[in-house]
């Protein structure tokens, strides 16, 4: 069995981030779910209000960094100790730990390289910002000077949200059709 529900798509447009934050706070208090917010620049402190969870990118960075460190160590150990030990500047490479100061710069560089590139690629893939990707921005003006709250609500909530959006000082409230959501039982 499945039931369907019709939801209105609402764009609340603002000229400034302060009224937008106020509207977000009020919507949250009223128990209305904010689907997304589009702004020309990042707004500090908005994440907990609109319910964006804390990023896990830092954990990824740590893992990529360790990978880089491991790869560099393996590479240098193989080249300088295992495969062809060389005497550089009177410092024979018969053991890795013995010449550790010489290996630190490359370990550092490789760690930073892998962490940096890994983070960038993860971010791009997670956001699906691959070459040829279609822009998902519903209103291009939010890349210029407009701030937008994006809502998907049923009729009852939509009426309530409309009032809140306007009361907080929205310059426009646009209705962009409906979507049908299937509720599974």
């Amino acid at each position: 069995m499945a039931a369907t529900i019709n939801k209105k798509i609402i764009h609340g447009i603002y000229d400034d981030e302060v009224p937008l934050l106020e509207a977000c706070n009020k919507l949250k208090t009223a128990g209305i779910k904010i689907a997304d917010v589009f702004t020309p620049f990042p707004i500090h402190g908005i994440d907990p209000i609109i319910g964006v969870p804390r990023t896990r990118l830092a954990i990824c960075a740590f893992i990529y960094g360790l990978t880089g460190l491991g790869l560099a160590t393996l590479m240098m150990w193989y080249m300088m100790v295992s495969d062809w030990p060389t005497d550089v500047g009177g410092k024979p490479n018969w053991a890795y730990y013995f010449n550790i100061p010489a290996f630190i710069p490359i370990s550092f560089e490789s760690t930073v390289f892998c962490a940096g590139h890994g983070m960038a690629l993860t971010y791009l893939l997670r956001c699906m910002l691959v070459p040829g990707a279609k822009a998902k921005n519903p209103d291009p003006r939010t890349t210029n000077d407009k701030f937008m709250i994006y809502l998907e609500l049923n009729d009852e909530q939509a009426t309530k949200a409309d009032g809140i959006l306007r009361a907080a000082g929205a310059s426009e409230v646009n209705y962009k059709g409906t979507i049908t959501e299937t509720l599974a039982y």
Binding site: H44, G45, G89, G90, K91, P101, A102, I104, P105
Partner: protein
């Protein structure tokens, strides 16, 4: 608006007097009880003198780095630090006290009261072919440079602070823009003199040895110590109920500076070590050989406190916003950078008579710390805790990251 006039609490004042008393007693005791580990006719209370020099330099450098940081905020036209500007100014004005102590040490050296600096001893210099070649760099030229640094630094710090106070009652921003220019010129002066002064005052202890990187290494260390002083004072004042207009984000930013410069220090410390270790040239490696032989535990301690501690404990955002945690880590690194100066001075002066850290280090450190706190808090109580008419004040009051 809250209370902007800081009064030095009587309890804290008494505490600083107690610290200074401990310092004075231990310095006198060090002169009486300090004996070389093995008989040595060249050992004249060297450890006691070295400790006075270490502390004079360490706390002078905090004032100097704070003055640099003050100039930097103006030159960079940064807004976030405006609410803590008076704290930076108060720390910076320890500079004349620190420089007076340094000058006292130099004069005592010139008149042969202590023998920390070999270049004050003409006979010794003339009997060494390597040092004969360096004669021109020391002597009157050394004194000229020393006086130039001192006059230059104090002039800029005094001017920056005076303009900042005058701006409180000004009607326009002209004094602020004057300070921007002043700050920029101070950066130019400081860029050169921070390096050369550390060569003249610290590197010259190991008179045969030289390192072009030494200046940056010393500078990065003093910068962290200054930032930590600012953090500790800000947190303390907030606890007393002042500075509630300083946002958590401003303290977070100061914490970031502490974190970031710790890596600058590590980078420079390691770079200096690695190049000498790799080249392994006798006249260069001697510096690290002395430290490796007689100071190995301290050498490792300094490196790990100042590198691993901030890396592990300050990496996460939450740790930099937790005042208790920030204070704890700050204290640890502060001591770490004091020990770093110990590592620069002791091997070249006390050398193999070193018997490990003892009350002879702890006592004078506490004494000078007491003086430092006393001077800085007195400076703080002399002017309002918030600047007025600063063009970026509003930005700083709403600073949020």
């Amino acid at each position: 608006m809250s209370n902007l006039n800081f009064t030095f609490p009587q309890k804290a004042k008494t505490f600083t007097y107690v610290l200074m008393g401990i310092g004075l007693v231990s310095i006198i005791a060090a002169f009486i009880f300090d004996k070389p580990a093995v008989a040595d006719e060249h050992y004249h209370h060297t450890r006691a003198w070295a400790n006075i020099l270490i502390n004079s330099f360490f706390f002078m450098a905090i004032g100097l780095a704070a003055a640099f940081f003050l100039g930097l905020q103006y030159a960079a036209e940064s807004g976030w630090s405006t609410t803590v500007k008076r704290v930076i100014e108060a720390v910076a004005w320890f500079l004349p006290w620190g420089l007076s102590l340094m000058m006292l040490m130099f004069l005592l050296g010139q008149f042969g009261i202590h023998h920390l600096y070999a270049f004050f001893d003409k006979d010794l210099m003339m009997h060494d072919a390597k040092l004969q070649a360096k004669m021109g760099y020391f002597g009157w030229f050394w004194w000229l440079r020393t006086i130039l640094y001192m006059v230059g630094w104090v002039y800029f710090t005094y001017k920056l602070r005076k303009n900042s106070l005058d701006a409180d009652s000004a009607t326009d921003n002209s004094l602020h823009w004057k300070n921007v220019k002043l700050g920029a010129w101070f950066m130019v002066l400081f860029a050169v003199t921070s390096s050369t002064s550390s060569w003249d005052w610290l590197m010259s202890i190991d008179i045969h040895w030289f390192s072009t990187l030494f200046g940056w290494y010393v500078f990065s260390g003093m910068w962290i110590s200054a930032i930590i002083s600012m953090i500790l004072i800000t947190v303390y004042l907030k606890k007393l109920g002042y500075l509630e207009f300083v946002t958590e984000s401003t303290v977070h930013d100061l914490g970031k500076w502490m974190f970031a410069i710790s890596f600058l220090w590590t980078y420079l410390y390691f770079s200096q070590f690695m190049l000498y270790w790799y080249a392994d040239i006798p006249e260069e490696i001697i510096y690290f050989q002395q430290r490796w032989e007689n100071y190995k535990p301290l050498m490792w301690t300094v490196f790990f406190i100042n590198f691993a501690c901030p890396m592990i404990m300050l990496m996460s955002r939450d740790s930099k916003r937790n005042f208790w945690f920030l204070t704890f880590v700050g204290f640890v690194i502060f001591v770490g950078h004091y020990l770093d100066i110990v590592m620069m001075v002791m091997p070249g002066t006390v050398g193999n008579h070193w018997t490990g850290l003892s009350w002879m280090e702890v006592g004078p450190f506490l004494g000078f710390l007491g003086l430092f706190i006393h001077v800085v808090f007195t400076n703080l109580s002399k002017r309002p805790l918030m600047v007025k008419n600063h063009p970026f004040l509003n930005e700083s009051l709403h600073h949020s990251i």
